[in-house]
Amino acid sequence: MSTPAAASGKPQARADQPKPAGGKEKIAIGDRFRLWWNSLSRPTQWAVGVPFIILLALLPVVRPPGISTVGTDFGGVMAQFGMIALIAIGLNVVVGQTGLLDLGYVGFYAVGAYTVGLLTSPDSPWNQTGDGGWLSAKWAWLAVLPIAVAITAISGLILGTPTLRLRGDYLAIVTLGFGEIVRLLADNLDTLTRGGQGLSQVAYPRLGESDTAMNGVFAAGYSNGGNINNGVWWFWLSLLLIVLVLLGVGNLERSRVGRSWVAIREDEDAAEIMGVPTFRFKLWAFVIGAGIGGLSGALYAGQVQFVVPTNFNVINSMLFLCAVVLGGQGNKLGVILGAFIVVYLPNYFLGRTEFLWWNINGNAIADYKYLFFGLALIVLMIFRPQGLIPVRQKLMTYGRQIWLAARGKRTKFDDNPAGSDKPGSTAAAEVSR
């Protein structure tokens, strides 16, 4: 976003607008943050956002005692969080922004993982990493990554073309069926996928190979002796991909595409009548969501180096949906928080025997996670269906111009009139920009 004022040459007068004085001090923190953030130039926004991301990236390296997990490796948990966060972002495009309930999203995750598995596992008849294959062992994973994304996106196209004409609730069931079919196919086509035996020794990025880390930093056994192990590296990789995907999805959101998606979600018929080619944009949402799901699946296959159908149960679809709904449908940062909760909380309790001042059986709590998530879904839907961080989408590329114009008069409001503007939500929504 280059400075819009300069580009259009029109809103020069803005700076000269008389601003009613005296109100500024009384704006709520969230508003002030948002105003401040919106007034920053793009480079400054980056300058603030990047350290925050770096801080997040350092979390599994520092492992603060109260935050780190006990029963499992925090780095590994964060790696899983990264993958589920990607999934949540992808699913959010479909469910949160376009309003298409996809209960078979795990199918795309599986397609992505199996694409990598089939092309790089020595167990697969289509393995391309060995003799005569066109993939070098060193770059196999990175080379297959775009292929996995593309194939998953195509699978989204294949599923979406016939089904996206259906009503919303039918679509939910069809996608559920699709998710199951993908898993059952992976199970039944055992000459290809080895069925329940799974595909092992899937390729992973061979980076940072050295004497101490013979297979690179992404290999299963890697650890630098301290807190940095392969899980942390996978987390960093996912974080990088999350930022890239967020930029892309953000660009889409603040454009005609995002407006069309939200319009379809709000009122599909009205959108169609207002000239939105709804089918085409629903298909785009499906394809983009699928591609992101496939990307996450490819990460999964690389990290675990082992793909097997049981990991792609429908119940995982529900868990992904949980992440999106919990965090706040439509809000990119919200669903990332949702993914964090879904992954982190059960792991947090795992192996823990005390929490604050109580003695607890952490394993039992972790065991009951679906019960808790189910309850959370019901309660949330009744009392706060918009999720923890409600959506505050920005749908105009040059929307900042309007925000700045609104600012002049806004300071007239002495107090935050609604009082419901969660500081976190605005912060989150803005960082995503």
Partner: protein, 451 residues
């Protein structure tokens, strides 16, 4: 008015049900109290475990598994007669890879975790990794409890060497396991690991343990591939699927003289691998026209049963878990298929007999695990409040081996690996001596029969 009437009817029915349920729980108590006590096993999601993931409960097969004890009399009618007496899984014999019977040694020379009581150590612990929660928890808990018996005996006898067992829950999920593994490695007090329990998670995590030079001694992961990866730290404390499958196949053709056998497999790693070995070893005796595949979680096998009925085989070999084996054998018998039902450790569980009832009788089940001697079963019961299950004895033996290593003064991981590599001795379940790859030098499975 209708509304009132309907509400009233609802309340009456609900109250009646509750009353019935309340009375009933008392009268039916005797026969059902241990319906779940033996622990669970896989239900619908088998995860990736290849080691008898579903196997749980008492493999001891002794009289203590009062699975279907007594024919329940229908109290309400007074005249109810249920067919069926006490059936249980009983050990028959130990067999060699060729299917021949092997003479058992007495267990009196088995290694004792108590040692001489003079061991000195501090800050040395043993880790245990396996599913402790989730659908596959039963197996992990059997192993953990078996290990606890050994630790308990050791710590009581050796006041100067108190060893703890640190539990790490993997849920049997490979991805979860890769998250847990670094925690185990980073806990420097853990010198040896009992586990991982399943083959899938072992595949995923062993590079981590291998890299860290941590002894990994599994009591239940039976996938043959695991010892072919060149891991120097991995030892398997029981026979793999090949030894079990090969032996039972030979046993069926040579000892029992079966000519025609239908091999049915489920879709788990375990079932697929086992069925492959059995089919290969059976050779011509395996009838491909009635070979079938089923799914974990299936309860209806009508097509497969019909197929088998048409082939009239001497035996049906099922490679899979008890949750499917029980309805499968019931439906086979219901369709008047008289062929012997043969299966392996996945089915070797009291739940199998409970759920299949009389249909299970005569079934032949193998297990690389040995039956629990009576005094072990008693100690186990006293400590853990439930009966020992599949792999409990093996876990006890393996923990004992690690404890003996610790008692001999070993405090670092590399030395413990060396100790196990050169170990040779008798345990409660079998003799322990490993070859270069980490397989047991002699691994003879046990044959059990439901009767």
């Amino acid at each position: 008015m209708h509304r009132v009437a309907m509400r009233g009817a609802l309340v009456v029915v609900a109250a009646a049900t509750l009353t019935l349920a309340a009375c009933g729980s008392k009268s039916a108590d005797g026969g059902s109290s241990n319906a779940n006590a033996g622990g669970g096993g896989t239900t619908q999601t088998t995860e990736t475990g290849s080691a008898g993931g579903g196997a749980a409960g008492s493999a001891a097969g002794g009289g203590d598994s009062s699975a279907a004890s007594g024919g329940g009399s229908a109290a309400a009618s007074g005249g109810g007669t249920a067919s069926g007496g006490a059936t249980a899984i009983k050990p028959v014999e130990q067999i060699s890879p060729e299917g021949a019977k092997v003479e058992q040694k007495s267990a009196s020379n088995a290694a004792n975790p108590a040692g001489d009581g003079k061991a000195k150590c501090s800050g040395v612990n043993i880790g245990m990794a396996g599913a402790l929660t989730g659908a596959n928890a039963a197996l992990g808990i059997n192993i953990l409890n078996g290990a606890k018996v050994a630790i308990d005996e050791h710590n009581k006898a050796n006041p100067d060497c108190q060893v703890q067992i640190k539990q790490f829950d993997t849920e049997g999920d490979p991805q979860k396991a890769t998250q847990v593994a670094p925690s185990i490695v980073n806990d420097k007090t853990v010198v040896g690991l009992l586990g991982p329990a399943f083959s899938g998670e072992t595949k995923a995590t062993e590079p981590i343990f291998s890299q860290a030079g941590l002894l990994s001694l599994t009591a239940s992961a039976t996938n043959p591939d695991l010892t072919k990866q060149g891991w120097k730290n991995f030892f398997r404390g029981l026979g793999n699927d090949n030894s079990q499958g090969g032996a039972i196949a030979n046993y069926m053709t040579k000892e029992l003289g079966y000519k025609k056998i239908c091999v049915v497999q489920d879709d788990s790693d375990y079932g697929v691998g086992l069925a492959k070995v059995v089919t290969e070893t059976l050779g011509d005796a395996a009838d491909s026209s009635c070979a079938a595949k089923v799914k974990t979680g299936d309860k209806d096998f009508s097509a497969t049963v019909n197929q088998i009925k048409g082939a009239s085989p001497d035996a049906v070999y099922y490679a899979g878990y008890y949750a499917e084996a029980a309805p499968f054998v019931s439906q086979l018998r219901g369709a008047d298929v008289k062929a012997t039902f043969v299966s392996a450790d996945g089915t070797n569980d009291p739940q199998f007999v409970k759920q299949a009832g009389n249909a299970a009788s005569g079934a032949i089940l193998t297990c690389p695990c040995g039956p629990a001697p009576a005094d072990f079963a008693k100690k186990y019961q006293d400590l853990n409040k439930i009966a020992p299950g599949v792999y409990s004895v093996d876990a006890y033996d393996l923990t004992t081996i690690m404890l003996k290593g610790i008692d001999s003064g070993i405090t670092d991981r590399a030395k413990l690996i060396d100790y196990v590599k050169s170990y040779e001795g008798q345990g409660l379940a079998k003799d322990y001596k490993w070859d270069d790859t980490g397989e047991l030098a002699v691994a003879n499975p046990w044959v059990y029969k439901v009767g």
